[in-house]
């Protein structure tokens, strides 16, 4: 099993990783200030929308230190959510415990989990600068999980800004 967590969304609502009946969950460590996270952001939202009717949960988490990086504050997160930029909950890992437990490295850093644990970890696709790639690595992993197959490409190198640790 993937490391369980419950984190608050931008309204403070506790949001768990695991929900009964969900075949897969995507956990994306992201943030507000990183150009790589911003460049891939719409592709992640498209995945969330495209796989929602198949029960896939997408949880996006900001764990960055907002003292050193004020653009990653809870208030800035709320502003983006209020502006409609997120298709799924945007969670705040203020203590950074979840990011540390998951060994998150960058924003973005993408994990796919099923009932057995983490089955994909890495980047959404091969190039932050090419929207036509459409998060194809992430989609391929989800397609494998939903088809009951082992994930053919279970790991790629996450690319982005380093997580801003306290």
């Amino acid at each position: 099993m993937a490391l369980a967590f419950t984190l608050p969304d931008t309204d403070g609502t506790p949001t768990p990783l695991h929900v009964d009946g969900a075949p897969a969950a995507v956990v994306v460590f992201t943030c507000n200030h990183c150009p790589y996270a911003l460049a891939w952001h719409e592709r992640i939202q498209d995945v969330a929308r495209d796989y929602a009717d198949r029960g896939v949960r997408v949880l996006q988490i900001n764990a960055n230190d907002s003292v050193k990086y004020p653009r990653d504050s809870l208030e800035a997160m709320k502003a983006r959510v209020d502006a409609g930029e997120f298709a799924t909950p945007y969670l705040h890992d203020e203590s950074q415990e979840v990011a540390r437990a998951w060994d998150a490295k960058t924003t973005p850093d993408v994990f796919v989990t099923d009932g057995s644990g983490v089955v994909y970890r890495g980047a959404p696709d091969a190039d932050h600068g090419d929207p036509s790639l459409n998060a194809q690595w992430l989609r391929a992993a989800l397609d494998d999980v939903l088809a009951g197959r082992p994930v053919a490409n279970p790991e790629t190198k996450p690319v982005g800004c380093s997580i801003k640790w306290k």
Binding site: P35, Y36, L38, V159
Partner: protein, 98 residues
């Protein structure tokens, strides 16, 4: 024309920025590549994020952000976010400084 590329190693964009800069300038124009390693150095240099390109000491893409060890956010011509400047805009701005 003195061209500098300032970068922070916590952001992986500087090789692409250097390649774009080299492509825009050609091989004859020297580029001084300098690493910013600490918050204190960032503050002293007025370094607002990686990569920062300066010509004759002035930021080629001036922004109001405070100095710090972070990745800079650029916008491409079509509005998309990018960790490096739009290559054509980079060429234009360099051309205007020659």
């Amino acid at each position: 024309m003195e061209v500098e590329l300032l970068y922070w190693d916590g952001c992986p964009s500087h090789p692409a920025a250097l390649a774009d800069l080299r492509a825009a300038l050609g091989e004859d124009v020297p580029i001084a590549v300098r690493e910013i390693e600490s918050e204190a150095q960032a503050a002293a240099e007025g370094f607002a994020g990686s990569p920062t390109i300066r010509v004759d000491g002035q930021d080629l893409f001036p922004i109001d952000d405070p100095p710090g060890l972070t990745c800079r956010v650029y916008r491409l011509a079509d509005g998309r976010y990018s960790p490096t400047p739009d290559p054509e805009e980079l060429r234009e701005r360099l051309r205007s400084r020659r």
